[in-house]
């Protein structure tokens, strides 16, 4: 089975054949990581991913994506098998796990020229002619959050790939609230576009918790 077929099978809550979902797989969804094939299958059995028929579907050697207006699945592939998976959209209220937060500088340069961190060599399967389009969509996400009043909105492009049908990128979005009492928010988002110039952008909805930079 192809990586996309494995992803579609899993999305419906079924087990991909021939170890199409690796035993070592990890799923990130609703701010929680699920480890192992069995745990991930249980998540999709309880909450199938609803990919509408107009969803954009992309597969390369290293990645697969199903992206619609409602949600997105992005997978790392190894010979068509799913090794790591991100699900964006339809987030659930999960028990918030304790986290040790880290004070950090998103930029290391007040003269920075971009809010989108992207290194082309990290994404060998994103054709150069698609860079501008993908980075433009990521910038739109950043601008949207800024317009909504968020501060220091930065995007880190974590995965990006494309083929004849289109291209997609997984992004980690960081922002601070612009209130006196700030809160930090870091969540995944997916952007994609196809050859018919349809554009998709899905942002995970989680909200920030308490800031705890101590053990």
């Amino acid at each position: 089975m192809s990586g996309l077929a494995n992803l579609e099978t899993l999305a419906r809550g079924n087990r991909p054949e021939n170890a199409g979902l690796l035993g070592t797989a990890k799923l990130s969804w609703s701010r929680v990581d699920r480890l192992s094939e069995e745990d991930i299958l249980a998540v999709f059995a309880r909450h199938p991913f609803d990919a509408d028929e107009n969803a954009l579907k992309i597969e390369t050697e290293m990645g697969a994506a199903i992206v619609s207006d409602r949600g997105a699945l992005i997978a790392d592939l190894y010979g068509g098998r799913i090794g790591r998976l991100w699900r964006i959209g339809d987030e659930r209220e999960e028990e918030r796990e304790p986290v040790l937060h880290v004070a950090f500088d998103t930029d290391m340069d007040q003269g920075r020229t971009t809010s989108v961190h992207f290194r082309p060599e990290d994404h060998p399967e994103l054709p150069p002619e698609r860079h501008e389009m993908i980075l433009g969509l990521v910038q739109e996400l950043v601008d949207e959050q800024r317009k909504a009043g968020a501060l220091r909105v930065r995007a880190f492009v974590v995965r990006a790939f494309g083929e004849g049908r289109g291209a997609a990128a997984l992004v980690s979005l960081f922002s601070l609230s612009s209130t006196g009492q700030r809160s930090a928010n870091m969540d995944y988002a997916v952007v994609a576009s196809d050859t018919h110039e349809r554009k998709f952008a899905v942002v995970a909805k989680g909200g920030s918790g308490d800031w705890t930079p101590r053990l």
Binding site: A19, T24, Y78, V102, L215
Partner: protein, 356 residues
């Protein structure tokens, strides 16, 4: 030996467990090993499976030497019998534990002397009571561990084990600080000579040179990166080895992206530990699928707890930290980083345990 020797010995990354555990002819010449082991990756993955999942725990006696030292940040233990009993103990509380090999990065440091750095996520249910933690909670756990093993002729002769114990405690609803205090109180009872290992380890970190690394090894710039950060405080220069979008995972669920986040992880510790000494103790590197490269670095830090911050008020105690970092490089730059150490044992030292 060259870091990428024996290319037919494949990383477990991207391979189903069924394929990994297929029996067959050897892929690597292993002197003195049981014939079932096809290569050093297979040895580590298969003996872990036989011991932890098939519950043939007695195999520890044929897979650990009688004088094997297992180093942890809570202190060393010696011998195959101790390993056997500790494994029985762990599996009596977490009986359904599956040991997921995220990667095994290895080297042959001398003919027939192998070193493996095995990054594991252990998934289990907290089924049984534990003396220090309390009654079974039936909560699910999934904890990052890295086991570095020196292996000769079918036996692990020395092991360095690091585990994200603070996350493990959180997962079963326990408070890492409270457990560390209880452990420290117990440490202060009885003969303190049993904690002598810690002073020796601190002296080694302060006095010994970094391990020699062969000129072509991809670990060289990463060992330099850690030294530039922890020893020279040149965090920005160090982080140039990382992708601007690097994914960083550190213990206690520190998780973020970007060079600044990695710097933040280092600076939390540098701020707490003054008068620092850093030592790179071992490196290994292996090819990964998609043309990527995996690097493992075992490192240690010694320093005085003079800075308030991540570990609370400064205690003034000298601290020792043993860690292992795994890196995935793409086109020469780190795109993913996972560092593991036992932060509960750091708190335990701060509270006056382990002879601190």
């Amino acid at each position: 030996m060259k870091w990428d020797q024996d290319p037919e010995v494949l990383s477990p990354v991207g391979r189903p467990i069924g394929e990994q555990l297929e029996t067959g002819p050897p892929r690597q010449k292993l002197e003195g090993f049981e014939p079932v082991y096809r290569d050093i990756i297979d040895y580590i993955a298969r003996c872990t499976h036989r011991i932890w999942e098939e519950k043939n725990i007695g195999l520890c006696r044929t897979h650990y030497s009688n004088d094997c030292v297992m180093h942890t940040l809570a202190g060393p233990s010696v011998g195959a019998e101790v390993v056997t009993q500790n494994t029985v103990g762990a599996l009596s509380s977490y009986a359904d534990r599956i040991v997921i090999a995220e990667d095994i990065i290895w080297s042959e440091d001398a003919p027939g002397e192998y070193y493996s750095s095995h990054r594991i996520t252990s998934r289990a249910t907290h089924f049984g009571d534990e003396p220090m933690v309390g009654p079974a909670t039936m909560r699910s756990t999934g904890v990052a561990t890295i086991a570095d093993c020196k292996v000769i002729a079918n036996k692990i002769v020395e092991e360095w084990l690091v585990r994200d114990n603070s996350t493990a405690l959180w997962q079963i609803g326990a408070d890492p600080k409270a457990i560390a205090r209880k452990l420290a109180e117990a440490d202060r009872e009885g003969d303190q000579a049993r904690h002598g290992w810690r002073e020796e380890a601190i002296a080694a970190t302060r006095e010994l040179d970094d391990v020699d690394i062969s000129r072509d090894n991809p670990a060289i710039p990463l060992a330099r990166m850690l030294r530039q950060g922890f020893a020279d405080d040149l965090y920005g220069e160090a982080a140039a080895m990382l992708s601007p979008s690097v994914e960083v995972r550190w213990p206690s669920r520190r998780h973020g992206f970007g060079r600044g986040f990695w710097i933040g992880c280092l600076m939390q510790i540098s701020n707490a530990m003054h008068d620092r000494a850093f030592r790179c103790e071992h490196v290994a590197a292996r090819p990964l699928p998609h043309g990527d490269t995996a690097v493992a670095i075992r490192w240690s830090l010694a320093g005085t707890h003079r800075g308030a911050g991540v570990w609370g008020e400064a205690s003034g105690r000298e601290l020792y930290l043993l860690a292992v970092s795994h890196y995935r490089l793409r086109a020469g730059i780190v795109v993913e980083e996972a560092t593991v150490f036992d932060e509960v044992s750091v708190l335990r030292q701060i509270f006056g345990g382990l002879g601190a």
